[in-house]
């Protein structure tokens, strides 16, 4: 086992991993480049240049997020282009990804996204497919304010991917980016607003129905609401009842509703 002074190692592969290399371990180098512990200024690195690159890399970084991989890919390709071409399939398969043109495009786009958005992608474990909207714009720089704004919201992974897709589509449909920036911190509300803009006809029809059914002659203790169930919309009715006689009475009163519904349809 060989040790090399850190100062003699290059740190061009510094892909800014989210987790710091443990202080108690020496950094690892491979053929003159540090593979981890990039911030260390002094001491020695463990030189494993006699081992296979992928084995050493995987040992140093067993788990990486998509954005970390995007940065690592970029550094690796620039430092050792031939090695990258040779190992890219195995490199990505170590992280359960299949190298293909599509993956390459998404990673390239992700590299152009603001760093805080990249971190959000890794924090929420966003998938390659969920990042596809980044490929629909001419350049990711165009939507930088949007990507930065998304990092300020409280969002689930689903809400993040939905917001990204809806906002990008609305932007491509001509809506100014400023309009699309969130004005509330609540991710769920933001996604709902984008949905309404993206599907104006259905949203308007649903809203109209919602208002209409509110005015129908509902019996007491019956709650009814116009709801969307995927590609269908309709009534959801909740009945609170205390006895068979009460139930019967409410059902009889409910029989007036189909008339109101037929008139509206």
């Amino acid at each position: 086992m060989q040790l090399t002074p850190i100062l003699r190692c290059g740190s061009e592969l510094n892909f800014e991993p989210r987790q710091a290399w443990p202080e108690v371990l020496p950094p690892v180098s491979w053929r003159g480049q540090l593979l981890c512990g990039f911030g260390r200024m002094g001491g020695d690195a463990l030189d494993l240049g006699d081992k296979l690159f992928l084995d050493v890399w995987r040992a140093c970084h067993p788990h990486l997020g998509l954005a970390e991989l995007a940065r690592a890919r970029q550094r690796l390709e620039s430092v050792w282009p031939e090695l990258y071409l040779e190992v890219r399939y195995s490199f990505f398969s170590s992280y359960n990804l299949r190298w293909c043109d599509r993956l390459d495009q998404v990673l390239e786009a992700l590299n152009h996204a603001p760093f805080e958005f990249q971190n959000l992608v890794d924090e929420k474990s966003v998938s390659v497919r969920e990042l596809a909207p980044l490929l629909s714009v001419n350049s990711v720089d165009e939507i930088e304010p949007l990507l930065k704004a998304l990092t300020t919201l409280t969002l689930s992974r689903f809400e993040l991917s939905r917001a990204l897709e809806l906002a990008v589509e609305l932007y491509l449909m001509g809506r100014p980016l400023n309009d699309l920036l969130p004005t509330v911190n609540n991710g769920g509300l933001y996604v709902r607003r984008l949905e309404q803009w993206r599907k104006p006809e259905s949203s308007q029809a649903d809203e109209e129905w919602r208002r209409t059914v509110r005015n129908w002659p509902w019996p007491a203790q019956v709650k009814a609401e116009w709801q969307r169930f995927g590609d269908q919309a309709g009534l959801e009715v909740k009945i609170r009842t205390t006895s068979p006689a009460d139930f019967q009475k409410k059902l009889e009163n409910l029989l007036a509703i189909p008339d109101s519904w037929s008139c509206k349809s």
Binding site: C100, A132, E169, L172, G230
Partner: protein, 376 residues
């Protein structure tokens, strides 16, 4: 023919197909410098990027198919009223370029593939020993039935084969006008040539590289004149600002050129696509496409569709427009729920007297028995 050949940058022939009729024909049609003999398919399989998908349409691979050719139509999913259609796939990918094409989410093959062993497909059908069953079989699921037919001439083999099986019906489904290569064979009672059609505006806007509406209808007239049965599929109907006017004109044009007795059946269907398809459609066709900008929602079978009310409104409109010309026009809905049937037609397809033969489950059971349940 030169226009068709000019679409392709290169043809790769699998050495295993070298002696096939198809390989021989391709060598007689394409310049030698456009043909290479290979041991394996060029480019790797996997999820295709838009540029790989586009490239896959410009290159041709001829190879034998190793799996089962004969499968059930993908419409046969729980919850949908399926018309018991079977498919025989002799290729994969299409030389045309519709924005809504489901192949964008379906294929992972990086090249337009034509199978050189059609004889094996026909042998598979023969061996199923179902000559007494009423079967409807189409060839336009994973490849257009006729757009490449001037190259393959498979229509001629298929027509000849199906003449032996009078209870089976073969349907060619196309968006091309390529019919002249088989018209000299004369009609076969059980062969239907059908067209997927849409208003001229939609053809221009969404069905890139296909024959114009007028060219498709003229091709249908040529088939009819030679005694072939024809059918039309107004599918997928695309919701757009002038949809009433455009679909109304389309129906009027069909009724002007054809009578109900010329067209044994007509189907209608509305836009539907897998969620995974949205990204590639957006990248390839942009948000100006009516399909990409459509307001769609996930339906119970996982596909994205227009709101059920819009679908019903569109179907009802087309239905009524046909009826205004002649009540004898017979329409059925493709890949729709029994609920939509009830709302539009007022009857379940399984109980409609005129459509009962299309929705009869007996052929399905017979095929399942013959193939021990394995029919895709």
């Amino acid at each position: 023919m030169q226009e068709l050949i000019g679409k392709f940058e290169h043809v790769y022939i699998d050495r295993k197909s070298k002696d096939s009729k198809l390989a021989e024909r391709i060598q007689s049609l394409f310049p030698a410098d456009k043909i290479s003999f290979v041991n394996e398919r060029p480019w790797q399989e996997g999820e295709l990027s838009p540029r790989e998908f586009d490239r896959s349409k410009r290159n041709l691979f001829v190879t034998p198919f190793k799996g089962r050719f004969f499968k059930r139509c993908p419409g046969s999913r729980p919850g949908l009223a399926c018309c018991n259609y079977f498919v025989l796939n002799w290729g994969l990918q299409c030389d045309m370029n519709c924005s809504y094409c489901y192949l964008q989410s379906f294929i992972n093959s990086p090249i337009l593939t034509l199978y050189s062993n059609l004889d094996d497909a026909l042998g598979e059908l023969r061996e199923m020993n179902l000559s007494e069953q009423t079967l409807r079989i189409g060839t336009g699921e994973t490849v257009d039935s006729l757009s490449l037919d001037p190259i393959t001439l498979y229509s001629r083999d298929l027509i000849t084969f199906f003449r032996e099986f009078s209870k089976w019906t073969l349907e060619f489904k196309t968006k091309s006008d390529k019919v002249d290569q088989f018209l000299d064979l004369g009609p076969a009672e059980n062969v239907i040539v059908s067209w997927s059609i849409n208003p001229a505006h939609i053809v221009e806007h969404e069905e890139h590289g296909t024959a114009s509406l007028a060219a498709r209808l003229s091709a249908a007239e040529r088939c009819l004149a030679k005694g072939f049965k024809i059918a039309f599929h107004i599918d997928p109907m695309i919701y757009h600002p002038d949809w009433r006017e455009n679909y109304g004109e389309l129906v009027d044009e069909i009724c002007r050129r054809f009578s109900p007795s010329d067209v044994p059946y007509l189907s209608v269907g509305a836009l539907r696509f897998q969620g995974e398809q949205r990204a590639i459609m957006r990248e390839r066709f942009g948000m100006k496409s009516y399909v990409v900008r459509a307001e769609t929602f996930p339906s119970p079978d996982g596909k994205f569709r227009y709101d059920a009310r819009i679908r019903q409104e569109m179907f009802r409109f087309v239905n009524e427009r046909f009826a205004s010309h002649d009540r004898a026009w017979r329409l059925f809905m493709c890949m729709e729920t029994p609920e939509t049937w009830l709302r539009v037609e007022g009857v379940s397809p399984f109980k409609s007297e005129s459509l009962q033969p299309l929705f009869d489950r007996a052929p399905l059971r017979a095929v399942a028995r013959a193939s021990q349940g394995d029919i895709g």
